[in-house]
């Protein structure tokens, strides 16, 4: 069973991510009064990127991007294997470090600046992800994903604050406005393309696939809040994931990008208020 879900994750996650990205671009376009690209546009983009010239600025960038991809896949695989969620979240942050290194390995001032901002983003979301693992432990008595989904009731009932906090920092991970400081999916931003500025063709495609793995992993964590031992919790979890994703798109379209200081302050305050308070309550009623 675990092997099946891991294999399914490794094979399907990029497709799921790319499809969601396609929906994202259409919904965003509709929100802006445009028609938007075809649903399969992310696949066309990937095919195009792989057919382009390999214009590498150095020999190490591709390797670092591949490491980013592999670590994200491992982090996701751990979650879908039902293993330790704490470990999965640690590997997730390790993966991000490879992206920072890939971006700072070239000489472009834009990507160096983007790498710096990515570090700030890591600082902003890290407390919440760690608290999240603790929250799951307090609510269920275990760090193991397999135990969490075998609870008699959905964990969201006892940890709604964590879900709000996680929704907040998920905007950073999905590179959504207001928190898309290091690089953005939107065409225009002040840092050219931020940390992906010097990634061309296949290198950039690898980075995109890695992001699709990450997207699926993030939604997997959202699903963890809803799944319990009953079968009907699974469809509810999927609907909840899609709803959360929609809310992120909405937020992306109505908010302007903030400065790094606001990013740090708001993330930490939200983490402390929603995650911290919820955690305290859980500790008291245990």
């Amino acid at each position: 069973m675990q092997v099946v879900s891991v294999v399914l994750y490794l094979i399907l996650a990029p497709f799921v991510g790319a499809l969601l990205d396609g929906f994202d671009r259409i919904i965003s376009a509709r929100m802006q009064g445009r028609k938007g690209p075809p649903l399969l546009q992310p696949f066309y983009d990937l095919a195009k990127l792989f057919s382009k010239q390999m214009l590498a600025v150095n020999s190490v960038q591709m390797l670092l991007n591949l490491s980013y991809l592999v670590f994200l896949a491992v982090a996701g695989a751990m979650l879908f294997a039902g293993a330790d969620i704490l470990m999965s979240l640690f590997i997730l942050s390790t993966a991000d470090m490879f992206l920072v290194m890939a971006a700072s390995s070239d000489s472009s001032p834009f990507s160096t600046l983007g790498a710096g901002r990515e570090m700030i983003q890591i600082m902003a979301y890290e407390p919440m992800t760690l608290l999240l693992a603790v929250g799951f432990y307090l609510a269920t008595g275990s760090f193991q994903v397999i135990d969490i989904i075998r609870m008699p009731y959905s964990t969201v009932l006892t940890m709604p604050g964590f879900l709000i906090g996680f929704f907040f920092v998920m905007a950073i991970k999905l590179r959504k406005s207001p928190f898309d400081l290091s690089t953005s999916h939107h065409a225009h931003q002040e840092l050219v393309k931020g940390l992906t500025t010097e990634m061309a063709g296949p290198t950039f495609a690898i980075m995109n696939i890695a992001e699709y793995y990450e997207m699926t992993l993030m939604l997997g964590i959202v699903a963890l809040f809803f799944i319990n031992e009953n079968w009907w919790s699974w469809p509810i979890a999927i609907i909840a994931c899609l709803f959360v994703f929609f809310l992120e798109i909405l937020w992306d379209n109505v908010c302007a990008r903030v400065k790094w200081r606001t990013l740090l302050d708001s993330c930490w305050v939200v983490t402390l208020l929603s995650g911290g308070l919820n955690g305290l309550i859980l500790m008291l009623i245990r």
Binding site: K35, Y44, K48, S51, K52, A187, H188, T196, T197, F204
Partner: protein
């Protein structure tokens, strides 16, 4: 259609345009014209661009920039000269600082005339460029195959 034609990413550079053509280029991304319908993105990053859109004639100051942008784009790539200034130098042709159209420094594949070039004409030009891009991609992949065999 083939790979490149479905996902062409643009890089827009203002050489020495009067800004008339630039505004028309930006117009293409507005809800009325919405070039993203064709999968076209205005990226602003030469490393990720397939089509270089240039507005305005070339002067001595921007010549090196245009050369550099062109060299930073990965193969296969095409260049579209937007507006009569970018095609020939236009009304600024005889100015002491203007070298002439974009083709005085880099090879141009499609010329879009007009002062200012209308968004419809620009989109037409880009679609024409897609055909050329596709031919170039075929030539490029054939060349790579030959290289790998040799």
């Amino acid at each position: 259609m083939a790979k490149l034609a479905k996902s062409p990413w643009l890089l827009h550079y203002d050489a020495s345009s009067c800004n008339g053509c630039d505004i028309e280029v930006l117009d293409c991304t507005t809800p009325r014209y919405d070039i993203e319908r064709f999968g076209i993105i205005n990226t602003g990053d030469p490393f990720q661009a397939d089509i270089l859109l240039i507005t305005g004639g070339i002067n001595n100051q921007c010549e090196s920039v245009v050369r550099q942008l062109y060299s930073q784009m990965p193969d296969p790539k095409v260049v579209v000269a937007v507006g009569i200034c970018a095609c020939t130098g236009g009304v600024f042709k005889d100015c002491y600082n203007i070298k002439g159209g974009v083709d005085t420094v880099i090879p141009v594949d499609v010329y879009v005339p007009g002062c200012a070039a209308r968004p419809q004409a620009i989109i037409d030009g880009v679609v024409k460029a897609l055909e050329i891009l596709e031919q170039k991609r075929k030539a490029y992949s054939e060349k790579q195959e030959q290289d790998s065999r040799a």
